[in-house]
């Protein structure tokens, strides 16, 4: 997402994410010092994690994203925000909530797994050891795709009647300016 100033670019990046999140949760995005360019990525998560999802409340979501603010030549710039890492984990809601699956992309952490990937965890049911340990390669995943997945295929009852249009809108805004490093 772009803006005339770094804070404007970050606002244009965060607000659609918060709107998208409102389709399934009342949680508020939480950042730290993330409105100016920095040598290291900025981070966002939820204030209270995991976020219980939907009216049904049977699943919960943990989210961490890293982003950078960069200069960008173009009509809507000169500042732009790039997502540079993410961790989206879906788990059973409740005290002992077990992780079910996750989409990860963490190219700069202490691991050789630098490509975007998918994990299946114990909360998804009994599975072979190799499946439990595997990093299934994926493309980069938009946050909206994850939210659409839990609504359409995991029975999360959205908090907004206009969830489809809202996710389309926020994802289109993101994809207009999406650049994966």
């Amino acid at each position: 997402m772009a803006g005339k100033t770094p804070p404007e670019a970050v606002h244009n990046f965060l607000e659609p994410l918060q709107l998208a999140l409102s389709c399934v949760s009342q949680e508020v995005l939480t950042v730290r010092g993330g409105y100016y360019p920095s040598a290291t990525p900025h981070v966002l998560t939820f204030g209270n994690s995991p976020a219980i999802l939907g009216h049904d409340r049977h699943l919960a979501l943990k989210v961490v994203q890293h982003y950078r603010i960069i200069e960008h030549e173009g009509a809507r710039g000169p500042w732009k925000v790039l997502t540079v890492a993410y961790n989206y984990t879906v788990e059973e809601a409740g005290g002992a909530g077990r992780e079910m699956f996750a989409y990860h992309w963490h190219p700069n952490e202490r691991t050789a797994i630098t490509f975007p990937h998918f994990h299946l965890y114990q909360g998804a049911g009994a599975m072979r050891d190799e499946v439990r340990k595997a990093h299934f390669p994926t493309g980069h995943l938009a946050f909206e795709d994850l939210l659409r997945l839990v609504i359409t295929q995991f029975g999360v009852i959205p908090l907004r009647d206009d969830w489809e249009a809202m996710l389309e809108r926020t994802q289109a805004a993101f994809e207009d300016w999406r650049t994966w490093p």
């Binding site: 508020v28 950042v31 943990k62 890293h66």
Partner: protein
């Protein structure tokens, strides 16, 4: 059921350094039963390098920028 209002869920929250460290500490305690300081030391020493992509470890590790 649901709403069609345009509003976001309140203000996006920006944490101070102390609040960020408290968040990291809370999550490190909850998922790894160690303090933020202990996790940072262990992470940087490579204590988790055998399987850093365990769900609990990678989640807390990715929260490290909250402590910067």
């Amino acid at each position: 059921m649901g709403t069609t209002t345009e509003t976001t869920n309140g203000q996006i929250r920006e944490l101070t350094r102390e609040e960020g460290l408290a968040l990291l500490d809370r999550e490190a305690q909850r998922y790894l039963h160690m303090s933020a300081e202990q996790f940072i030391k262990a992470w940087e020493a490579g204590d988790f390098d055998e399987d850093p992509d365990r769900p609990d470890v990678m989640y807390v590790a990715m929260l490290l920028p909250f402590a910067k």
